[in-house]
Amino acid sequence: MKKRYLLVLPALALMVSCKPEISEKIDSNTYYPGKADFSSYVAIGNSLTAGYMDGTVYKSGQSNSFPAILAGQFKVVGGGEFTQPSFADDVNDVGGLLFNGVGNPSFKTKMIINMSTGGPENIKGESTIEVFKQQKTAYHNAGVPGAKTFHVVAPGYGSMAGLAVGKANPYFVRTATSENATVLGDALSLEPTFFTNWIGANDVLSYATSGGEGVDQNEVGGLDPSKYGGNDITHVGVFQKVYGDITNALTANGAKGVLATVPDVTAIPFFTTVPYNPLTPELIGVENIDKLNGLIGMFKVILSSQGQGDRFQLISKEAANPLLIQDKTLADMSPVLEYGITQAVASGQFPIELTPAQIKMIAMSFGQARHATAKDLMLLTSKSQIGASLPVSTGSPVMDALLKKGVSFPIGDEFVLNTVEQQKVKTATVAFNTIIKQVAASKDLAVADMNDLLNKAVAGLRVEDGQIYTADYFKGMGNLNTVMFSLDGVHLNQRGYAFIAAEILRVINKHYEASIPLVNPAVYPGPVLLPTN
């Protein structure tokens, strides 16, 4: 035997080393589309479909809209090309909108957490997203932020001319293929074989997010949506008609799809984050409490003559105290208060000297005021109100120092969803969701019950890898890796949209007997945190 042969042996040994094979290896049979065809997938909806988060649409966020995430998974089972409205002009990735080069306070830049102040803020910087630069292209992601159900079929919703008169939506103006195009028409031009439709939330939630500053069209029999205000609740009859029309159009050529329900306000951090009773004695200032209670006690006495003394309660020095809020559903007690306070000032019982104008102002402010209860939902936007000074001076420096919003001066009704408003929201939400499920059943379409999903997430929903996702607002380091709502408190963040996509995939796999791999929300980004802004 020659030496060199010996040396070759180990090398030979390594050459025969073979890679291991998993016996049930993922192969072409592992994943399949089942009864669905994903070659042309179109997503109908509103901001939740558009990839809106942190108060706007921005480039990196939109790249992980739930339809985009879904389309990525559909690719495994024959999914085709999936396009989204171009946000290439969002060069700084800050969102917002420009109208012919001019910014607009309704379309601010994205929200971020400023670590130096701790709070969510709109990121500094100018938007570069121009509404007037029309793309005139139908996109597979047909979600339009702000769209209500009837907007999807409204001609001119993407009309530049309509923008000036408030009849068009700037996001749809950017993409609409013509002045008279409809969201649905543009979507249908892509000949969808599969669709998701998550429309309807704005039909009720814009009322809720405005703190109930709108009309419930069900109460006034409003059947003409062109006459609706932006914060109105859509009439159930209108919803039913339009929702059915949209579904008929989408399924006309045999397309399959998923209909998603409208989440309830009680599962959205915008309504559940600010407690009704955040006022600890320390926060109020223990030294102020006796003085404030003197005032409150006087109001209670005055109102008890009308049987309304229990609108207020004395401030506790031990326990957390409820916020003082305005409630427009209450009977206006301002004349009673004005009379009572005038009497008290005249008799010297009132701790401060007040002019008649000041008395009137206070009486007006407290005429429909009460302390909040656990049943009131304080909006996320109320947070910045709490403890704030009054925007205008009462004329009395003593009063000015005493009057703090939420503590000694009612927070406006538009920052609270009271029980009457909540009931309207609930009734409409239930009605819309019932319609959505009925339509789905009649067309044998799958239902993604987002309402049920997010309601379960209030307590925490455990996913495949054991992580528990909750419907909470960003709490800091405690849920940095798991928070799924964006900083606007209404919309999901990229992680949350992945959570939504995973649920829709589960629904598709079940309903259409498909096998599509899920996505794991954990790897998707959460809120943007910056050291300074």
């Binding site: 180990p10 080393s17 291991p20 993922i26 992580q467 798991t482 050291p531």
Partner: protein, 415 residues
């Protein structure tokens, strides 16, 4: 608070299963490896300095030397059907050994062993699905072991000596599943410990019943590698996290577990048969604790919860003639990793090994030892369930399948 943040259930650090269970690499002699890595009751050259120093007094020659290297290729495939994840990693390791024994007198033998019983590397694709547990790890530990053996009689001898270890590790993982810098690059940390040294000891005895049957035992003590000046270096840290993910010193401990071997060998004509049983006391590796001294991250505790494990080894040698010996072996190796603690830096389960080799002795007395081994693993569905994210333990797992193939060459010489 901050310590819990980012669920820095940092790692897994040093643990890696290269070859045998845990991070033990059983390749300490190409003759004995060819016999299933038996050897505690075998008198077969300088490799005894490692397998059982007591055996060295029964070597025929005054001087015995043996040295060699293995090239091992470790493949692991991973998949998770729920998410459609697929990944694989191939890593090459080159454990070495060098032994010398000198029979000072008829009853006293001294020896020196240099070997690398723990180590190897695994390198997954950066930012792969399990990147929060490990992106890559490279672990090495070299043992330097002088020995003394005393022959009490022709029947019985004992021996042993101190062990000096020099080891190091480089380890990289992502700090969490979602943390990324402003450009979207996932934040990761490299932990490095270099030239960590520690002491241990080894002792054994050999009993010869007759000219055929030997029984031996050898024990190597546990050795705790204590790093007090390791470094942590963070990459792709978002601006807000600069104060949190601060580069600096780390301290950590990692155990190299004790190993007890008992064995028996039987020589008959041209045949030599050997059976060894190894018990490795992995239970000592209950958690990996890393203290980020210079960072608010604080201390990271990573449960490992290893169990003691056994290995059963069989080997045979047939001496064809003065030049050629042929060998074959088999062993069964239990993994010390328990269900739910199956992390991708130790991606292997129980294995069966098949070994074979030969020695060809040239006219000048130089022997060339050639060995080949193959480790067979079954599919395993397992997971690591103790990665803490926002206070919740989350699981990472799927189906793993591994194979390890190695070829080695060595030389032995005695006179």
């Amino acid at each position: 608070m901050v310590k819990k943040f980012i669920s820095l259930s940092l790692i897994t650090l040093l643990s890696y299963s290269a070859y045998a269970g845990g991070y033990r690499v059983a390749m300490q002699g190409n003759k004995q490896l060819a016999m299933g890595h038996t050897g505690v009751a075998v008198v077969n050259g300088a490799e005894s300095v490692f397998f059982n120093p007591a055996a060295t007094v029964y070597l025929k020659d005054k001087w015995s030397f043996s040295a060699g290297v293995n090239v091992l290729i470790a493949d692991t495939k991973f998949q998770n059907k729920t998410y459609g994840w697929e990944n694989e990693t191939r890593n090459v390791g080159t454990p070495i050994y060098a032994y010398g024994a000198y029979k000072a007198t008829d009853w006293l033998s001294i020896g020196l062993a240099v070997y690398s019983p723990y180590g190897s590397a695994v390198d997954w694709d950066k930012d792969w699905q399990g990147a929060h547990l490990v992106n890559n790890i490279d672990l090495k530990a070299f043992y330097f072991q002088p020995t003394v053996a005393i022959k009490v009689s022709e029947r019985f001898s004992f021996g042993g000596g101190p062990i000096f270890v020099n080891g190091g590790v480089t380890f990289n993982r992502n700090v969490s599943r979602s943390m990324a810098d402003e450009q979207g690059n996932k934040t990761d940390v490299t932990i490095e410990a270099k030239n960590v040294t520690a002491w241990g000891w080894s002792a054994g005895y050999l009993f010869n019943f007759d000219d055929h049957l030997r029984v031996g035992m050898n024990y190597r003590s546990k050795i705790i590698m204590k790093e007090t000046a390791g470094t942590a270096k963070f990459h792709d840290v978002p601006a807000f996290g600069q104060g949190l993910f601060k580069d600096g010193t780390i301290t950590a401990e990692m155990p190299l577990p004790a190993e007890l071997s008992v064995g028996v060998s039987y020589e008959w004509n041209k045949w030599l048969f050997a059976f060894d049983y190894n018990r490795t006391f992995w239970k000592i590796y209950d958690a990996l604790v890393i203290d980020f001294v210079d960072s608010p991250l604080g201390t990271s505790v990573n449960p490992r919860n290893y169990k003691d494990s056994s290995t059963y080894r069989l080997g045979a040698q047939y001496t064809v003639n003065d030049q050629l010996s042929l060998r074959a072996g088999w062993y069964y190796d239990e993994s010390p990793v328990q269900d739910g603690y199956f992390a991708p830096e130790t991606p292997r389960n129980d294995s069966r090994a098949y070994t074979g080799g030969l020695t060809y002795k040239f006219k000048n007395g130089l022997g060339v030892d050639v060995v080949f081994s193959y480790l067979h693993f079954s599919d395993t569905n397992n997971s690591y369930d103790y990665f803490n994210e926002d206070g919740q333990n989350v699981s990472f797992g799927g189906t793993y399948r591994s194979a390890v193939t190695s070829g080695g060459i060595g030389v032995s010489y005695s006179f």
